[in-house]
């Protein structure tokens, strides 16, 4: 599904290397988690995969379903199946949430040569998925993320993911800012989408989310590299002892 080889990334504006050779393979049907100290490069990795400006790839490669993605526009990556649930979802005043989602769904379908969704069909689907995530009709009508609480923004990300049905879902700290019930909703949303031809890359600081979304593999990122990978137990170890020992042994 996702294959990252020795990926090296620096900031475009500054001479600052952030990713220093990331190797990561995520197979279809699997859930991988990435943990790691603040500033280790987790969000940067997710942005670079989604195609955000401001970074310069100085080495390595990344491919999605066998296709090299690093030269593609963000919209092309999205159409190819990439989805990033943002750590900080963006507010867009003046653009209705519904209009936004329908435009996105149909733009992707069009790019893939599929038939566009009719308004009626879209409305039906979005209402059902929103209900599952306990997002009320009022929130669908409001401008994208404007005036949403932190938790509402995160649920809105998961709603978009459910509507777009991507192949690779990267969740960047989707659990931060969520109350216990919202966490369960988000986890249910993720689990409902789990399928043999879809993969997840879940960036998180806490075991709590992983209690609900059982990961197959856990990676530890530090200073721009994946320094350790293991099973679900690795997350429990981090929860218990922090990163100290792991970083020491990998140094």
């Amino acid at each position: 599904m996702l294959e990252i080889k020795n990926l090296q990334v620096k900031l475009e504006e500054e001479d600052k290397q952030i990713l220093k050779g990331v190797d990561l393979t995520v197979e279809a049907g699997k859930v991988h988690a990435i943990m790691g100290p603040n500033g280790s490069g987790k969000s940067t990795l997710s942005y670079v995969l989604a195609g955000r400006d401001g970074y310069e790839v100085t080495g390595g490669s990344a491919s999605l379903l066998g296709e090299d993605i690093l030269d593609m526009d963000p919209e092309a990556r999205a159409a190819a199946g990439m989805f990033l649930a943002f750590q900080y979802p963006v507010e867009i005043p003046g653009v209705g949430n519904m209009t936004f989602m329908r435009t996105a769904v149909n733009a992707q379908r069009k790019a893939r040569g599929e038939e566009e969704m009719s308004s009626a069909e879209f409305l039906k689907v979005v209402r059902a998925r929103a209900k599952d995530l306990q997002i009320d009709a009022e929130m669908l009508k409001r401008p994208v993320n404007v005036g949403f609480s932190g938790g509402e923004k995160k649920r809105n990300e998961i709603l978009q993911m459910a509507m777009l049905e991507p192949k690779l879902c990267i969740l960047d700290e989707t659990d931060s800012g969520l109350d216990v019930d919202a966490m369960k909703l988000v986890a249910q949303g993720v689990n409902a989408l789990r399928s043999p031809d879809r993969a997840f890359l879940v960036i998180t600081h806490y075991q709590r989310l992983l209690d609900h979304i059982a990961p197959d593999v856990v990676h530890i990122m530090s200073a721009g590299r994946i320094v350790k990978s293991g099973g679900p137990d690795l997350a429990l170890e981090v929860e218990k002892n922090g990163y100290g020992d792991i970083l020491k042994e990998s140094a």
């Binding site: 195609g51 963000p74 999205a78 943002f86 963006v90 003046g94 653009v95």
Partner: protein, 431 residues
């Protein structure tokens, strides 16, 4: 204000004009306007009020040619809305294309036929609000208009008129140079919606005087067309009685020169005036210059004024905003809000703004702001990361930027027609 000497190019604008026929009160009002005009002269390039917009094209004896583009569009814009239509073809009234000059709660007459008649309410207004609006800043083209307008409509609303009146402008002659003057009187407790649609002429000078009596309401929705080479010069003068409402929205696409002036005076307490404009221009095919000049005078208690002006500019298009809120001594509880913003889609375009507040009352809430910005990169990336192509994402953000102006339109069907028109423009000017 520099007085134009007869030898200056400015004088040629006047030389080319002959006095329209019609005596009586109209003749007297024209004489008065002409002497006002002679007293102030036409704007000179160094005039402070014309610092950002060169008056040369408006001063010239003849208009630069402007190819017509969109007559059919102007006619079809509000197809879903029942309305009374009055059609001017390059400034000439087209009786055949127009509806009968009659409607429930309405008295309608044509300026061209009004001179010999005894339409008291129009006689009292014609040139009067314009004359009031000449101070403290002279507006020579408005005086010129009062003196030389060949036609226009005089509309009096005596009840709550549900069917909008639409003045449709058809532009077919690349050298037309119409001067039209409309007078609107909304009686106590009455209401009227007036639509103005289309490019008036290759070059035009239009003026509107609107007198809203107490508890009356006037809604004005204007689409100025999209002819590239048009030179459009408009004035709207409004006088607002107690607890009255005045709302004016303008959509302006393209235009080599557009100068829209609004002069609003609150004379009764508790009244509301909203003035909004969405202007969008692409300088690639032809130059685009759009100027909004507004002067709001609060001379009554507890009135609310709101101005929302937004411009989207690209490929060297130029936007200008001059807006002043004057709160006179005693105009307590004034609520004045003014925002003027430009979204520049590239580095070639520019926005020049001069917002001003002048306040002589102590118990008021006035705010104003002016910003110039580019498309927000984070928003753009968010949309693209969801699969929305860059161009479409940019269009969405442009429409979002302009949305606050369109919200000033009360009628949703009309607002939707104009939103549609904006989208079509964006499609046409992709990339």
């Amino acid at each position: 204000m520099a007085v134009a000497k007869p030898a200056s190019p400015a004088a040629s604008r006047l030389d080319g004009l002959t006095r329209p026929p019609g005596g009586g009160w109209l003749g007297a009002a024209r004489d008065a306007a002409l002497s006002r005009l002679q007293g102030m002269g036409l704007p000179a390039p160094r005039d402070e009020y014309w610092r950002f917009t060169r008056p040369a094209d408006l001063n010239a004896a003849a208009p630069a040619p402007a190819a017509p583009v969109e007559s059919a569009e102007a006619e079809a814009l509000y197809d879903g809305t029942d309305r009374l239509r009055l059609v001017f073809r390059d400034g000439a009234f087209d009786a055949e294309a127009s509806d009968a000059l009659t409607g429930e709660g309405l008295e309608i007459a044509r300026l061209a036929e009004a001179g010999g008649t005894d339409i008291h309410w129009a006689a009292d207004l014609y040139g009067a609000l314009e004359a009031d609006g000449q101070s403290p800043v002279p507006r020579p083209f408005a005086a010129l208009n009062t003196a030389h307008a060949t036609d226009g409509v005089l509309i009096r609303a005596t009840a709550a008129v549900s069917r909008p009146v639409e003045i449709v402008y058809l532009h077919e002659d690349a050298a037309s140079d119409p001067i039209l003057h409309h007078v609107i009187r909304v009686e106590e407790g009455a209401s009227l919606t007036l639509l103005e649609t289309g490019t008036v002429g290759a070059r035009c000078n239009t003026a509107m005087e609107v007198d809203v009596a107490s508890h009356g309401a006037f809604h004005h929705i204007r689409d100025q067309g999209r002819a590239h080479a048009r030179r459009t010069n408009t004035h709207a003068f409004a006088r607002l009685g107690g607890a009255s409402v005045f709302k004016s929205f303008t959509l302006s696409l393209n235009g080599a020169l557009t100068r829209n002036e609004h002069v609003v005076a609150f004379t009764g307490n508790d009244a509301t005036a909203h003035v909004a404009c969405a202007a969008i221009g692409d300088g690639r095919q032809a130059p685009m210059h759009h100027d909004d000049t507004v002067f709001i005078t609060h001379d009554a208690v507890n009135c609310e004024s709101r101005q929302v002006f937004k411009k989207v500019l690209k490929n060297g298009a130029v936007g200008v905003f001059q807006g002043k809120i004057l709160v006179k001594r005693g105009a307590q509880k004034t609520d004045g809000y003014q925002i003027s913003q430009a979204l520049l889609l590239d580095d070639d375009s520019q926005f020049l703004a001069k917002p001003e507040l002048e306040i002589y009352a102590d118990d008021v809430a006035c705010s104003h702001g002016s910003t110039t910005g580019a498309i927000d990169e984070d928003m753009l990336f968010y949309l693209r990361a969801r699969g929305v192509p860059e161009r479409r994402a940019t269009d969405l953000l442009v429409l979002a930027f302009l949305a606050e102006t369109l919200e000033e339109i009360g009628d949703e069907a009309i607002a939707e027609s104009l939103r549609q028109r904006l989208s079509t423009w964006l499609d046409r000017h992709a990339g």
